[in-house]
Point group: D2
Chain length 476, copies 4
């Protein structure tokens, strides 16, 4: 197919080839080919049903579009040689069906068409991402359950603070991913609104049935203002912001994987399947996948910044600036999907080194708060208890002992309120057991939390299954 354009009646000169390449979007918007063809099928069905074009014309268009979709998806035709994906589709149709192809663009504009394509595309990608998030949640939950009896240092300021269950630690990430899913579901709802029928900016004078297209394509609502619909990319920004936050969560976890598999921490050993070596240092085993996940947060945040800057100060309605929505969106979608997939595999490639972890429970005086709380429960104002135990820590540190290795007499030197029961409380296990507040790290609480998390996974899988379907096959 030669270069095909959908405009030009008023134009005398031809486009400068460099400018043609510069403005062409086909090299990237070809990713919308499926969305574009499905949207066109729905549009053609509606045009026929509303009598805007003949029934037979509509059937010819629909059938030609289905054939084209198969040809594209089975690689029988290459997507190239046009200004953009819309022009490509129409150009091939024209070659195959003749002038009738020109009727497909009745009552629509590329402005409402591309907005429809992008929403169709993103809607499906959000669903795919939610699925990947759920898979990753399950992996964390399995890891939590398999290591339920492992106590790790809980850190604040990267200093050992209080002992916690590893399962509790992992569940914190499940909570983050849960919020991510909720945000993406909200974004899905606002994305799944049909702009088609808005024309270039003002609506159309053809007697279109927008509700019908909505039903056919599985949208949940139609846009209420044509000027807004033609230039609204809020859903792209909202998605990128949600994606950036997912990536930030993954970066936090990846940072821990890198640290915990260092020789200094030694809590994790990474399987060879998820590490790479050094071209020069034979002893190295590098957590490359985790590092890349961490770094790629920057890329998605960059996409968000880019999109916000594109939109800043853009008057109504459609401007070619909006074409810049696509590459950042596509890159963010693919980056996020790859990182979620990679994170799951890295997680599966982790072996927990129980010996190293157990050794780490010594030396940080992580149960000191519990000892202070003990005094508080006996009536000592917390601030005073805090100071007393601060001095005990210094005392123990100087002797190279843990708090649970001090004798009761030593305890009593600091306060006569201490009784024998304080010592088992001062062990990591005693401390973990005691944190029974809702959301706390006591095993009973963590068990509850994991169960609740599984329930949430089921609920979100049900949401995925319940999304409105595309109903194009049910005939015209």
């Amino acid at each position: 197919m030669g270069e095909y354009r959908t405009w030009g009646g008023r134009f005398e000169g031809s486009l400068d080839p460099m400018i043609s390449r510069f403005t062409s979007s086909l090299p990237f918007d070809r990713r919308l080919v499926r969305a574009d063809i499905l949207g066109s099928i729905a549009h053609a069905m509606m045009l026929g049903r509303c009598g805007i074009i003949g029934e037979e014309e509509a059937e010819a268009l629909v059938s030609g579009l289905w054939t084209l979709l198969e040809d594209v998806e089975e690689g029988r035709i290459v997507v190239e040689g046009a200004e953009d994906i819309h022009t490509f589709v129409e150009g091939v149709l024209r070659e195959r069906l003749g002038d009738i192809a020109g009727k497909l663009h009745t009552a629509r504009s590329r402005n409402d068409q591309v907005a429809t394509d992008l929403r169709l595309y993103l809607r499906e990608e959000i669903a795919a991402i939610v699925k990947l998030l759920l898979d990753l949640e399950e992996t964390f939950l399995h890891m939590a359950e398999e290591n339920f009896d492992v106590i790790v240092p809980g850190y604040t300021h990267l200093q050992r603070a209080q002992p916690v269950l590893l399962a509790h630690h992992l569940h914190a990430y499940v909570e983050m991913l849960n919020r991510d899913i909720d945000r993406l579901k909200d974004c899905y709802r606002r994305t799944n609104v049909l702009p088609l029928g808005s024309g270039a900016l003002a609506g159309t004078s053809f007697p279109v049935d927008r509700e019908l297209i909505k039903e056919l394509l599985g949208f949940e609502g139609i846009s209420a203002n044509s000027m807004d619909a033609a230039s609204d990319r809020d859903f792209v920004v909202e998605f990128l912001a949600a994606a950036a936050l997912v990536m930030v969560h993954l970066s936090r976890w990846a940072e821990e994987v890198v640290a915990w598999s260092s020789q200094e921490f030694g809590f994790f050993r990474l399987d060879d399947r998820v590490c790479t070596g050094s071209s020069i240092m034979p002893q190295k085993k590098n957590p490359d996948a985790a590092e890349l996940i961490r770094a790629k947060a920057g890329r998605v945040v960059g996409a968000l910044s880019a999109m916000l800057m594109v939109l800043k100060g853009l008057p109504l309605s459609y401007h070619r600036d909006l074409q810049e929505d696509k590459e950042v969106l596509f890159d963010a979608v693919e980056t996020l999907k790859a990182c979620l997939e990679a994170a799951r595999r890295v997680c599966e490639g982790i072996t927990v080194d129980r010996a190293r972890i157990e050794a780490s429970l010594r030396g940080g005086y992580m149960t000191a708060t519990e000892v202070a709380d003990y005094l508080t429960r006996k009536g000592v104002p917390f601030r005073i208890a805090h100071e007393v135990v601060g001095r005990m820590v210094r005392y123990a540190e100087e002797r190279g002992k843990e708090l649970w290795e001090l004798g009761l007499e030593e305890y009593r030197e600091f306060s006569p309120l201490f009784e024998a029961d304080v010592i088992s409380l001062a062990t990591p296990w005693g401390t973990v057991q005691s944190k029974r507040s809702p959301g706390g790290t006591a095993p009973s609480r963590v068990k509850e939390a994991l169960q609740e998390a599984w329930r949430k996974v089921e609920k979100d899988r049900a949401w995925l299954a319940s999304r409105p379907k595309i109903k194009l096959r049910s005939g015209i």
Copy 2:
């Protein structure tokens, strides 16, 4: 009050004064004083009710806190002389109530406390911002109604494209603000979750009643994982992303105000109340407020970038890095509120210049699509109709005429399918009338859309009124 710290038992040296200033948050977190005191009142009430401290101790603390709140709000005490707002509050209490003040910090940490303060603060600010958004929507709606008969050029690519109602144009902004409100409501829901009771990171061993605090403070849920709760700032990021998008919307509108009040457009005249002059050019009247609104979008986007970068790669759980959440959040909240307020006043200061607008309806051949659609309805494939009318535009342009000023014979030279009715359709009014698709610019459609917008305003005002209340005054 001298410098007061809540820690130090183990510390031998005193803090370097420069580092003390560097790490102190009181200069900005004083903005949380109300939230901090209310949260402390609820906490003290709960401690008493659960028997963790004595009933009378609880009453003394609660009463001391109410007094302090009044003192602060009426300016009888200056918020200074401490490391942070939590320490300030406790320090004053200690001066006033003695050692009993030390009991207030039982079963909590500054980590869950500051997270609670920030959520209380932001929750109220989101509500205030939604209110300002609703006020601005109403202003747009009034302006739309008052100018319902005004037709303006609808632009794409800043080229005149198709005539639209000014009311339709304004309603596009109402739609944007509507989505903003919906996003902020979603953010409110995720913000309004209580972290208190999470301790420093692991929960607490005191028999706290987190549900009671939730009820007292009007939260809608409690956090499910203490490590996550102590280090989660997703709600800040989500708010900043929503705020950035509001600002982008305002920047788009501000750009138009600047352009439309230029001598070249001349559609708007700005009242002296919302303009400033030049120190050197006596004839100037500058749309400064609109320019500043546009520019301030950059600032809020910068805050969003900053916060995402702060969180990137931060392992669990609390790190002092999180202190950097506050200044960007406070600045974004205040910027957004000021811009919404300023936008409303600028909007009220606009006089629509109907003569200039009417003149602008000539010269852009904005009704050409309608003429092409006319042919399409007569059976001409759209692409061909498009080319025919492209040539007509060139023809009219060369003669300095509008499409509706050509005679029927001239029309017929381009296509014999034209009949007399095409000419009224080719006028701006004819074209606007014809765009009757849902969401289109036909007056009937715009009227419907405005009515729907008013209903949405009512619904959102009802949402504001229905938010759970703080119930601290109902006694212990």
Copy 3:
């Protein structure tokens, strides 16, 4: 060639295929193939010259590398099937030369190798970008000279402020681009420093001659610390920041092109070669290329944000995170080059509409400052003169007149100090003539400025020509 890796002695399992794809950089770092091979040739020459490998071995490697470079550049071999570009090159060599290929990696690591490749690549791209900037400057300078007698409104706040020469307006952009070139030259200097010889992070124990490699590859210095050299990407950030500023400058100009070619301004007509039409509105002629240039500023700023976020908090020395430098850099380089090229063509496609511009000199009272200055020169304090002329503007506005259309008597009603000479001063031409301060818009000043700009262009072209050359062909 099968999948080839440069490590693995210690590894038992094989890499997960998904992780392999995820961590592979060949899909994008293939862009470094030329830099990688040239760097390897220099390295092999040095190894031979220093006796680290045999002279004949070195010759075999060098000759094999030249052949490979030709094969790649003439498309005889496809760059694929390896983990990264370094591995690809070495893998092919091994197939062709056998075990001797393994000697090429003596005394270097992929860490210093990739840093060298990237600096070689970027250095050449900076030079190419400076050349494009100079071409664009020349286009602006020609446009300025060809329209030297055209006076346009000078705007502040998008309000007509004072008349200026169009040439002066265009020269403002030349000044911006001049600063861009200076920044890029500074960046070039800091980029053109050789890291090779730093090993993985600690240096190497082979008796390498880093100065020799520097000379062979045209670097201007060698890095002073091996740990820094292996993990330094400052030059990438500095380039991205400079590129972002170029893009901001182009966005400002593009915004003006869009505005000035609107029907409202009408100062510019764009040639069909640089515009596109509408698929639905036959009358439209859209400044798409300018819009895209404007929007793409967001993309390059996004790349800058991304890179800064990648680097934040990364400890010494090399981390896989740094692999994320490449795609953002490549995209920014290509975006910037395309935009500079497109901007030049858009500029060449502009026709200045002198009639519309002349008409615009009426109505903004742009010469009012000059009239105020007139009074000031007669001894009236500027502030008072400013107020007097403010009243005169209101007077003239009410009568629909320009300041130069008022009679001397009318002038005298406002101040007896006015004499006949004020009236010619109050014309646009009189005002422009009078702004003779250095850097002002008086024709004599602008002529000087354009001459100086041409001199700067010559100087920068000379700089381009004087860059140190790659000297690999001069033999071993």
Copy 4:
């Protein structure tokens, strides 16, 4: 002083109080008071010297301005009650000197005035920042010298890679700061250009002597285009980019301080003077200052994003949008200065734990590369040597031994080329000694590098001392 404005002749209504607050810049641009007054003094001196105002008028203005500067700096007058700092200064002068004050604004505009103020301000701040960078470099250099014999693990991917001198590690940061200084000096050069004399946008018709003002204020050049000069904020962006990169460097170092003072690494102990404690965990000692330094990188990067977004798409020339340059710039300047100061103090508060560091040299097989290089030097292709040593590492790991603890026979089982000398080479000290390539970690190389760094410090201090001075006191 009541509210004072410098414009208004044409205005009938008064400014809305909310809009007045919204547009007012005095709350932040008061920071420019010194720059504004010094600039005004130079301007007044020039006006007098050029005969634009009377000599005595000039003297009165100059003397009034010096008095005002003293009053402000000694706190005798509060900077408030005006729209901006320029208006404040002129308003006070008017109160004190009467109408003559109005002559000060002759031949200038607030547009060129504020650009001048900002450049004066930033120039001085850049110098202050360079000084702080030099102080920090010296602290690193002292730490390097005091611990010259300490070998630490050199990391890549946070895995122990090769042993390096701690001094070498620290010198890597000195190199980063050196590049920062160079970038800031380039930025200084481009900042130190005088815009005054550009008027509002077009230049001025008064016979001003811009070179004289340049000399009086210590500028190094004058701007060449008045439109550019009035709207150029490139110097702000360039500074923010340079500042962002300094902050990224500090964040990398801060991340290491946090990690190295964790219990897991234990390489550093932080002095109580630079740590804070926990309100709830008595044993905690948190590296808060380092964490905050790390986090504040986000803030400065946010400022950079904000400023770029403000400038995007802004047409010529001055727009009120540019007022948004100030708060981000002021915040970035102060953040950067505080972080540099804090970093120095944290660095001074570090005690190196030699025992923990020495222990860490075991277990990472960090000398493996050296053993592989040994084989390479005996003629084994590097790739094969790499694989052999990879197997040796696995062998040693299984036996819990270091490479230098294997016997020669064990070595020979892997390759007959090993001789007795390999074993000392396989120790950390042997490996460090061997890395003698320029920039490598061999003690002799590091010593050279430190000496060179000291020379660079001297050179940069000399640059600071040699900056052109303000020459206002030398009389009129």
